[in-house]
């Protein structure tokens, strides 16, 4: 579990650092707020897009941890807590859906 958590964190950090370097190196000084849906659209500078994707990857990492625990408890046939973890995953999904709206 630690490995995947580190993997998610590494992806996020690399995207954020590369994005920051690209942003500063390109002389782009605008630091706008970027809604989730704009990350895939046009009108966002490459550096900001990379950093935004890094923030998104970072935000998804805790959810990954919840999913991993769900799988772990499913293997242990601890169905009660599989249900609890599923509730948390659903809540995070609702939050992400609201964020994308």
């Amino acid at each position: 579990m630690q490995g995947l958590l580190r993997g998610g964190l590494a992806v996020a950090v690399v995207l954020m650092v590369v994005g920051l370097v690209v942003q500063v190196a390109s002389g782009e000084v605008a630091a706008p707020g970027v809604p989730l849906r704009a990350l895939v659209g046009t009108g966002v500078s490459p550096g900001t897009r990379l950093m935004g994707l890094g923030v998104l990857a970072l935000g998804l990492t805790p959810g990954l941890r919840v999913v991993l625990l769900l799988v772990l408890w499913a293997r242990e046939r601890d169905w009660r807590f599989v249900g609890v973890a599923a509730l948390v995953v659903m809540t995070l999904a609702v939050s992400l859906a609201l964020g994308g709206g």
Partner: protein, 294 residues
């Protein structure tokens, strides 16, 4: 605001200092970084809260991957309470978008003042933001704890007794209600909320302190992520601002946690408390349109 190289470096440094100092005195970086961004960099309070949430997730995730869990956190208990904190986090985020920023400032100032008063009264460090002192303790060969399958019960290794001590969480409804409130606060103000969850678990649910602190830290990243997505929807997350701050806070918190046992934090805590009181005053004045200094 604009992001020049100098600004990026300043944000990185300020974030690092906030994370480091926070870990030393037992606070999350949020309570330091948010007023710094608002008063020092002229950032909108909601944008500062969103930035802090990114930093909270970064710190919690980094701590979770560095301080390999010694089994102290009760993951089933944490997950159960997370049902409530994530719902609270979404509620807090939605609320923050609708409450006037002046009101938000006053609530934040009240939180900062309360924290400062607790620090002045000498209350010991409160676990926050994924970097608990418990988790930073040297590794031992003893198992730190166990949790029972299918139940909110387990045992933890007590160094004084030299044995595994069993415990069972009671009053889950109460814990859930308090966790919901902690989630709302986290979503509204961008803080971890460990200072509410830990007493709820220890006093309300009869969970040992070390277990409660570790469990609270396990929960913080998930809660902050839930409200972070809400802030993302409104474009309140400024990636170019959040990136240097989050990297700085997470790095500083990890260093602070690793070195906190070697530093006497009492004087530092009192000094920081006085600064926080001044900050709370200035935030309140700003909310009412009074400007001091610059």
């Amino acid at each position: 605001m604009e992001l020049h190289l100098a600004t990026a470096l300043a944000l990185l440094a300020v974030g690092f200092f906030a994370g480091w100092l926070g870990a030393l005195v037992g606070l999350g970086g949020g309570i330091i970084i948010i007023p710094t961004l608002v008063l020092g960099f002229g950032v909108d309070l909601r944008v500062a809260v969103a930035t802090s949430l990114v930093a909270v997730v970064a710190t919690s995730t980094a701590a979770g991957s560095v301080f390999v869990g010694k089994g102290l956190a009760h993951l089933r208990l944490g997950m159960t309470l997370e049902v409530f904190t994530t719902l609270g986090g979404i509620t807090g985020g939605l609320l923050a978008l609708r409450v006037p920023v002046e009101a938000l400032s006053v609530v934040f100032a009240a939180l900062v003042s309360g924290t400062a008063v607790l620090m002045l009264r000498g209350k010991d460090a409160r676990p926050e933001q994924g970097a608990p002192r418990a988790a930073a303790e040297p590794e031992t060969t003893e198992p730190a704890g166990e949790e029972e399958r299918g139940r909110l019960a387990g045992s933890y290794f007590d160094a004084h007794q030299g044995a595994l001590v069993p415990y069972r969480a009671v009053r889950v409804g109460l814990g859930g209600a308090v966790s919901f409130a902690a989630g709302v606060l986290s979503g509204l103000l961008g803080v971890g909320g460990g200072f509410i969850k830990v007493p709820a678990m220890t006093l309300g649910m009869r969970v040992p302190f070390k277990v409660a602190a570790a469990t609270s830290n396990f929960m913080i990243g998930v809660t902050a992520a839930a409200s972070l997505f809400i802030y993302l929807s409104e474009g309140l997350v400024h990636p170019a601002l959040a990136t240097p701050v989050a990297l700085g806070v997470a790095g500083g918190a990890l260093l602070g946690t690793a070195t906190s046992r070697r530093v006497s934090a009492t004087l530092l805590r009192r000094l920081l408390a006085l600064v926080l009181l001044a900050v709370a005053g200035q935030l309140t004045l700003k909310a009412f349109g009074v400007r001091l200094g610059r």
